[in-house]
Amino acid sequence: MTRARPAGGGAVSLALPWPVWVPAALGFGLIAVPVAGLVVRTDWPNFLALISTPAALDALWLSLVTGLISTAFCLLLGTPLALVLARSHLPGLPVLRSVVLLPLVLPPVVGGLTLLFLLGRTGPVGQLLDAWFGITVPFSTEAVIIAQTFVAMPFLVVSLEGALRTAGERYEVVAATLGASPLTALRRVTIPVVLPGLVSGAVLSFARALGEFGATIAFAGNLQGTTQTLPLLIYIQSQNDLDGAVAMSLVLVVVAVLIIVTTRTRDVTGVR
């Protein structure tokens, strides 16, 4: 925090060895150049018209709302899951962990299909939902949220479990010797201590939910206003209107960058 600086100059950072710079530049280029290509390829004179069609506005709004709700569910379900993985001594924990991480390796379409098999009207759970409550999950906004939560939650769990393991149980032990019940220790010590990890996990989850395509189109369908999020609209537009698809992609990129940058900044300045 209050580190001494050399007189008249900025902080001196250790020099990175040169073999770091070349791959770093290549890696950055691999990501940045195609995105820059998107900017070049955009039909700027018609940009506003392209991104303000009813379908585009519907998709943007739906993406933001479902992304936020999915992130909330990731926090609600993923935080306890990460705690169990990092702190409990359940037998078979490695198996549990690899199951939780499955959505990372599973092609999203496969994830969407498995959800469809489970929750479709003929699926084991979907059948009951239909018979008892008249609820049909596929082709609904709820299905979008379920699909996004499915693919995004591992990001939160991985990030948070890492933070929990790094922090260790030391602070919780101290809290217990000060008379804090496990719930109080969780609320007032554990969560605040791992908050940076929690925030970056939530940001990652949100970003993943925002870009979610495969699981959504397979499970929730591609219905404008109900399940057609930005990536799904981009996919459909790329079938016949590439200009529109490129413009919408740019919107997606801008939204993602805005959210990552703002939360990242807060993360760094707010805690520590």
Binding site: A176, T177, G179, P182, V189
Partner: protein, 403 residues
């Protein structure tokens, strides 16, 4: 400007509760053992456990208001003992009572969770909650006990003043030095007024410069509040400064126990002698260093400010003792006649163990001097010989000690 130490507001109701819960946790089917006959007051712990091919089997008692130091090398079972007392680790076979409450009884399957034990813990690392200010850290425990926010914060401010850093109350831990952080940790541990305070090498991670002052603060608070304390350390000086009694642990067993100065002055086991490793002379503080009970002066340098007449102990390493056949001339301020009791080879050096000489002070009994084998050959000494020990005043540290 140190504010007066507040007496504990909970002392009365603690006594009540202790009696009540003592009756509430009888141990059915278990005959009362002789050494655990009383269920009231202080800590009584009997712990037997295996952990990774190593067995811990100890019995420890700490009377109310007493400070007991457990001394032992790494791997002697100190951390397992602390973890067991704090309720972080459930041993194979143990019975632990504190102030009449049974905390652990493997016979009945009773294990009070850590947060209901009223056992505080202060470790090497301060482990201040990084997201809270110093004041909020100290107020944490009282808030958990259900006390009001304002009351807790005010009390926390006073606690911080007691440990001498009242002006840093609103700093985050990242803006505190190691010594300052450990002071906050002391204030935080004492703020909950635990029935037992566990100290786990509390100064080991501090700078050599910071340690004495922090040790002094802890000593004062523990003494002034009559805090029942169990200290685990491998540093003899910690034990000398803080502890009434000393328990020496080796390979999971108690090998020696007794009043601190006695155990260190006359280690009965080779192990305790090695642990002790230092020469100690008890007395009271004086302007030149230390005055022994029969009136001789040991010249030395006080490690912290000690009022004249306060109980103190002079400490010096055996390697600082020069051995002579005849009374030496020159600068050493402390020169005393001794009678050689034993020669103990200790690796590279030979330890000469002294007994009191008829011509010298009685406290010479048990002092050690480390010399090279070559020097022993040159001096041609053997047990029963009369010798002179000489120690420079700058090698002698005078510490306050428990009365």
């Amino acid at each position: 400007m140190r504010p007066p130490i507040r007496r504990r507001p909970w002392a009365a109701d603690r006594a009540d509760r202790a009696g009540g819960s003592g009756e509430g946790h009888p141990s059915p089917g278990r005959p009362t053992e002789g050494d655990l006959r009383s269920e009231s007051g202080g800590l009584r712990a009997r712990v037997t456990t295996r952990r990774g091919g190593f067995t811990l089997d100890v019995e420890i008692e700490v009377a109310p208001g007493e400070v007991v130091a457990v001394l032992g090398p790494n791997g002697s079972g100190k951390s397992t003992l602390l973890g067991t007392l704090a309720g972080l680790y459930i041993p194979k076979d143990a019975r632990i009572t504190l102030g009449g409450r049974t905390l652990t009884d493997t016979a009945t399957g009773l294990a009070v969770p850590a947060h209901r034990r009223r056992v505080g813990l202060l470790s090497q690392q301060a482990l201040l909650f990084p997201h809270l200010t110093a004041r909020d850290n100290v107020a944490f425990g009282p808030r958990c006990a259900g006390r009001g926010r304002r009351e807790s914060l005010e009390a926390a401010g006073e606690r911080l003043a007691e440990v001498g850093i009242g002006e840093l109350a609103d700093r985050r831990p990242s803006a505190l030095s190691g010594g300052q952080a450990q002071r906050v940790a002391i204030a935080r541990a004492l703020a909950v007024e635990p029935d037992l305070l566990l100290l786990d090498e509390p100064f080991a991670a501090l700078d050599v410069d910071a340690a004495p002052a922090v040790r002094s603060v802890l000593r004062r608070l523990v003494r002034d509040t009559g805090q029942t304390t169990l200290l685990v350390t491998h540093d003899v000086v910690d034990a000398v400064v803080l502890a009434d009694r000393l328990v020496v642990l080796a390979e999971g067993r108690v090998v020696e126990a007794g009043p601190t100065a006695e155990v260190l002055a006359r280690p009965r086991s080779a192990f305790a002698a090695r642990i002790a490793g230092l020469d100690l002379v008890t007395g009271t503080a004086s302007g030149d260093g230390l005055t022994t009970p029969e009136g001789t002066t040991v010249h030395g340098i006080a490690s912290e400010k000690i009022a004249g007449g306060e109980p103190a102990v002079a400490v010096f390493p055996p390697s600082a003792v020069a051995v002579h056949r005849h009374r030496p001339d020159g600068s050493p301020r402390n020169v005393l006649p001794v009678r050689l009791a034993a020669l103990e080879p200790q690796g590279e050096v030979v330890r000469l163990r002294a007994a009191a000489s008829p011509d010298g002070p009685p406290w010479a009994d048990g002092l050690a001097a480390d010399v090279t084998p070559a020097a022993v050959a040159e001096l041609g000494v053997e047990p029963g010989d009369d010798l002179w020990f000489a120690v420079k005043a700058t090698e002698v540290a005078v510490h306050p000690r428990r009365r």
